[in-house]
Symmetry: C2
Subunit: 353 residues, 2 copies
């Protein structure tokens, strides 16, 4: 059952007005503000039909209409037009991302900051998932006679390390041997792959002619190796502008505000949810989010070296400027991906922390 041209116009007008003013919009104000050439009565009739079709709701009899999730969905899919960023915003983005170009996590965080500053919503950024990162080498470095550092280095320059303190002293020789042995075993394999296979494989069974000291050391090092790998897989989550929502009327009640804040108390849960989302700009509205029934979530992906994929996102009430936010996020992720494309012959420093 398709909507008539006029119904679309009215729906669009209602959405525009409601997004702007956060108050149920009545037939009269539509007729006055948007020049549709029909009277309030006609608009009332159309509104009634739109409500029947599920695009509008009614807080109570004598109130105006409010767009439903379905209406926003229609708007995002069909009605919305791309917006050009203001010159001011563009300048802001270029300056701010440029300035910190050489520090990875910082840049990601700045992107999230920009997002929340410009949209006045809550935003977040995830560092890239490293499931497909391949291991370049593994190194064991001596600190003192019973302390050593285990270091795993990925092809993209990712580094993770752990400090181990052993019961018994080790020798430099066994350390070097184990370093080489592990590197040979794991070089070129992805983190995911190594972790999965390790749950099955019998640790150490793959090495022949291994002397007792080496076997003992390996036995101690392997659990840490696995933990460190898991650590390397963890992505960082940066949240920005959490308090922005306090200025929005939909969170003027304490209960709503608390519910919102509690979403982010479980960082791990939230991170997992976000990682599961598809690539590109993804919009999920209200009920489409299992929890977070009355939020809209918009995520977008950026690329590092054209390979690893990270995410940035915005969370707010379903009433938001979809056109502006999605356009901004597109611009921002393009800009990020550009920054993280390694150009030939360039000095580049990447912070691992």
């Amino acid at each position: 059952m398709d909507l008539s041209e006029r119904q679309l116009q009215i729906l669009q007008a209602i959405i525009t007005d409601y997004v702007e003013n956060a108050e149920p919009v009545g037939s009269r104000s539509i007729a006055k503000k948007y020049d549709l050439g029909v009277s309030p009565a006609t608009i009332r009739n159309e509104m009634s039909d739109l409500e029947e079709m599920g695009y509008l709701t009614h807080p109570h009899t004598s109130a105006g209409r409010v767009p439903s999730d379905k209406a926003y969905r229609l708007y995002v899919n069909n009605l919305m037009k791309k917006k050009n960023l203001s010159a001011k915003d563009k300048r802001l983005i270029n300056e701010r991302l440029q300035a910190s170009r050489d520090e990875f996590d910082q840049t990601i965080r700045h992107a999230a900051e920009l997002l929340s500053e410009i949209t006045h919503l809550t935003s977040f950024a995830l560092t890239p998932a490293t499931n497909d990162e391949t291991i370049a080498f593994i190194r064991l470095l001596p600190v003192d006679e019973r302390t050593l550092i285990l270091m795993i280095v990925g092809e993209s320059g990712n580094v993770t390390n752990t400090t181990l303190r052993l019961k018994v002293p080790y020798t430099q020789e066994t350390l070097d041997l184990l370093s080489k042995n592990m590197t040979v075993n794991y070089k070129g394999r992805t983190l995911d792959d190594v972790l999965k296979s390790h749950i099955i494989e019998d640790v150490g069974s793959d090495i022949e002619a291994m002397n007792a000291a080496l076997t003992a050391l390996k036995g101690t090092v392997m659990p840490s190796f696995i933990r460190t790998l898991e650590d390397m897989l963890n992505v960082n989550l940066y949240m920005e502008g959490m308090t922005n929502i306090f200025n929005l009327p939909e969170y003027s009640s304490i209960d709503r505000a608390r519910d919102f804040m509690q979403l982010f108390a479980q960082k791990d849960w939230f991170t997992q949810k976000m990682l599961q989302r598809a690539d590109g700009v993804v919009v999920t509205i209200g009920e489409e989010n299992a929890k977070m029934k009355d939020c809209t979530l918009i995520t977008a992906t950026y690329h590092v070296d054209g390979k690893l994929v990270g995410k940035i996102g915005v969370i707010g009430p379903t009433r938001m400027k979809y056109d502006e936010v999605t356009s901004l996020m597109e611009y921002l992720t393009n800009n990020l991906s550009e920054s993280f494309r390694l150009t030939e012959g360039e000095d580049y420093t990447e912070r691992n922390d």
Copy 2:
């Protein structure tokens, strides 16, 4: 002007009652609940005096009395008695901190979690300040012909690293030379010391007979070295139970809740403030905190290896159970320090991330 024994008793009763019920307490209820052997009228007279001296306030004429910051200060300094933790809480703490004993940052975070769970307030934990950490060695590791890893290792096993990508290829030989050279220069010095001296010293001027390639490499590496040192100085801040305060009546208004949340939006500012606080259990009440006028802040310090010092803390309204919270924090920090005392011949893994 000292308070009489009876005035102290009344003050104590008011504080106890108000902390429990969060409502202005009247003369009648004091007389009934706490057996002071005097009539409400007498209590009223004493209350009037206490108010004149600034220990009590009056929301409006026909309401009961509320303790002022000054009253809480008196209570904390003189009246409060140490509380024994419940067996349940002790068990909880021992289990939870034991379980994660081998992962440093995790343990710290768990401590903060426990703190907010037991007190139902907002809590935080800071990893130890590393200003006095001494450098053990510096290592430059090759990844590919133009990529290398700069790694700084402290005596306590702290590790920080950075991935560098250079314009021009380097040779293994120069890398090793520079590694050794830097280690010789900085080994045994504290991070603070190295950073300070570097602002004055002319980078590279201390090396004689240095060939051109080495000088060039050093020129590229040094800025990253400094940044990495600064990075190593950064402490991590973990916040827990931020949404707990939504359940407290003092934050039932959106404005109060927002103000509270915004304190933690500036993590850096907050971290700095906390680092400046004295060691041991420190309580600051209401106006004593420049910002955060209507909060009480309690911090305590734990030790790592008996040397480095980290902090945990609790934030809430001035109305809180000072005796229980301070006792809990004392127990918790003792427990932490114990966990982080390196016992001889023990297997120990410390995560650096």
